[in-house]
């Protein structure tokens, strides 16, 4: 039982690590999801005890299996779920800007943009806050229009 649990955890963790090292951002997110699920598996296997169902009133006089690991696993699952959603949102945001989810292509696109910025000769724009007091929305709309260009 312990061996099979250890095998399951390690296989899931290893496949997650493999995906994490890919250039495709969606795969990276899937890798992270797999790795966080391997931690959940690990928590559950850390509390694998045989016993009665831990629901009150207790049936039988024997030992009760550990309910705490279930609670921990549930919490970890929820956190992992929320963060995965956040990561996917970030990937989507990068996708709308560059029309790609490949890290290297995104980096190339950023270098190209930095070069155009330098040619325009406005590198200080970042540091003058008053000029763009309410530019948050404009920035965003520009960003979403960019790929259509």
């Amino acid at each position: 039982m312990i061996l099979s649990a250890a095998l399951a955890v390690s296989v899931v963790f290893a496949s997650g690590t493999f995906l994490l090292l890919q250039r495709d951002l969606v795969r990276v997110v899937v890798g992270i999801v797999l790795i966080s699920n391997s931690a959940v598996l690990f928590i559950i296997s850390a509390g694998l005890t045989r016993g009665a169902v831990p629901i009150y009133p207790l049936k039988g006089a024997g030992s009760v299996s550990d309910p705490l690991v279930q609670a921990m696993a549930l919490t970890a699952l929820v956190i992992g779920f929320g963060v995965a959603a956040l990561l996917l949102a970030m990937v989507y945001r990068l996708y709308t800007a560059h029309r790609t989810v490949d890290t290297e292509e995104i980096a190339d696109a950023e270098i190209r943009e930095a070069e155009t910025l330098e040619r325009v000769g406005d590198p200080e724009r970042e540091e003058v806050p008053e000029d763009e007091q309410d530019a948050g929305w404009q920035d965003r709309t520009q960003a979403s229009e960019r790929p259509a260009r």
Binding site: I32, I35, S36, A46, A76, I79, V83, L86, L94, I106
Partner: protein, 469 residues
């Protein structure tokens, strides 16, 4: 009084948490929403100050959630160590929030996210439960992932993505460590874990210790785990960078102290050589990289890697003196980084002076607080048992100090002393400059009158070496 203390314990995390949930529904770009958030954070800070007084005078305050008996329920516990870290972290977060409000918030979610970071930080500094620590840690980390992408420039979103992926990996490793601790000791309560690991064979716990330490090293951005840090700090907006390096990095040093010094002291001792080597590597690598960089925020990002090396050195030396130095240096480092990152985002009169104070405090020049921090590290190095080791450490601290002096002065020269070509740009609002100058003044004040800080650090270290160790 006990009841009052227990209510007080819930306030620092409770106020920002509830307020964040309310403010999430409002438009954070409005000034009054931002000010409301700042007021809530100020109230949280005030309750922390009060709590600190209670804790120092009457000893640790503890409350078990839901009225469960102790050892069953999830406990909140405030001791000098947690309170010290909470105070400085919330202080830096509060100043950063005010700074952004003065300059004009550009994102409706900014104030609630900052509040969530503060709530998570307070929660994890004031919890007595290992799993609860993980949950609060995730709350503040998740909020900071989003904060890193503040302003939604492409490179910021990419930096946030890298930050999120790397730190999630760290969190998972930490979670695995917590689960193993639970499996070995059968408890999640920190005090119980500390008692039970004491009787266990250290070799059986050393792997658990290694996973937990690795997770915190990653969070601190120590040398072999640093690869994510420069890109994130350079990409982040000035107040966000200040929050990341002034407040969130404290999670790493607090975690090392709490889990290393408090829960697994013998395992930390076994691994102390590795810890010292990593600290040394960080100091030298961070300083050399910082010297070779040009951009202000990039220099300061690498400087962060070097500065946490000192904290690690102090943790590795251990003992009351070492832990005191680690706490003291973490506090000073947070303030320094807050001043430097905030000042780097401004322009106009007074900013150069504030930046200089921060930069020289990093280098450890008197009369700044950095000097007090360096002295504490010196003391810890001298207190070491073997003479060659303490000589080597002293030489290292001198070398690190000299290198950090070099890059601090370089970056100051490049940023503030070169004649401005053409349009120097508009000066930042006076209020923002005054805010940064006030923080810089605090750094000088703590350098001139360090007794309260030293006292608090010693109390905090006494928790580790006396109480649960």
């Amino acid at each position: 009084m006990i009841a009052a203390g227990q209510t007080l314990l819930v306030l620092p995390a409770g106020i920002p948490w509830v307020l964040a949930a309310v403010l999430a529904l409002l438009d954070g770009r409005r000034r009054w929403v931002g000010l409301l958030a700042a007021a809530g954070l100020g109230a949280s800070f005030a309750s922390l100050v009060w709590l600190a007084f209670v804790v120092v005078r009457e000893g640790p305050v503890e409350v078990v959630a839901g009225g469960w008996p102790e050892g069953v329920g999830i406990s909140l516990r405030a001791d000098p160590l947690g309170v010290t870290f909470a105070l400085v972290s919330v202080g830096v977060v509060l100043v950063s929030l005010l700074y952004e409000i003065i300059l004009g918030t550009r994102w409706r979610a900014f104030p609630p996210l900052v509040l969530l970071v503060a709530a998570g930080l307070n929660g994890l500094f004031l919890t007595g439960d290992a799993f609860n620590f993980y949950v609060f840690f995730e709350i503040s980390m998740t909020a900071s992932f989003i904060l890193t992408s503040y302003r939604e420039k492409d490179y910021q979103v990419r930096a946030a993505f890298i930050f999120a992926v790397v730190n999630l990996l760290g969190s998972v490793i930490f979670l695995i460590g917590i689960a193993s601790l639970y499996s070995v000791t059968g408890s999640l309560d920190m005090q119980t874990i500390a008692e039970r690991t004491d009787v266990l064979e250290p070799r059986s716990v050393i792997v658990i210790g290694a996973t937990i330490f690795a997770a915190f090293f990653l969070k601190l951005g120590l040398f072999p785990f640093h690869f994510w840090l420069p890109e994130v700090y350079v990409g982040a907006h000035a107040p966000v960078a200040a929050i990341l390096s002034g407040a969130l990095a404290n999670i790493g040093s607090y975690g090392l102290l709490r889990f290393g010094g408090g829960l697994l002291p013998r395992e930390l001792e076994i691994g102390s050589v590795a810890v010292l080597v990593l600290g040394t590597a960080s100091i030298i690598y961070g300083a050399l990289q910082a010297i070779s960089r040009h951009d202000t925020s990039e220099v300061m990002a690498y400087s962060s890697i070097g500065q946490v090396g000192y904290i690690l050195l102090a943790v590795g030396l251990g003992g009351p003196v070492g832990y005191t130095a680690a706490v003291l240096y973490s506090v000073v480092n947070s303030l320094n980084k807050g001043v430097v990152f905030l000042a780097a985002g401004l322009r106009g009169q007074l900013v150069g002076g504030a930046f200089a104070v921060g930069a020289f405090s990093i280098a450890g020049v008197p009369p700044t607080a950095g000097f007090v921090g360096k002295i504490a590290i010196f003391k810890a190095a001298i207190a070491s048992n073997s003479l060659p080791a303490s000589l080597a450490l002293l030489a290292l601290v001198f070398l690190g100090g000299a290198l950090s002096f070099l890059y601090s002065f370089q970056v100051y020269q490049r940023r503030f002393m070169k004649p401005t070509q053409g349009d120097p740009g508009k000066a930042s609002p006076l209020a923002a400059r005054v805010l940064v100058v006030a923080l810089a003044a605090l750094v000088v004040l703590l350098g001139l009158w360090p007794e309260p800080l030293v006292y608090l650090s010693e109390e905090a270290a006494a928790v580790l070496s006396g109480g649960s160790g």
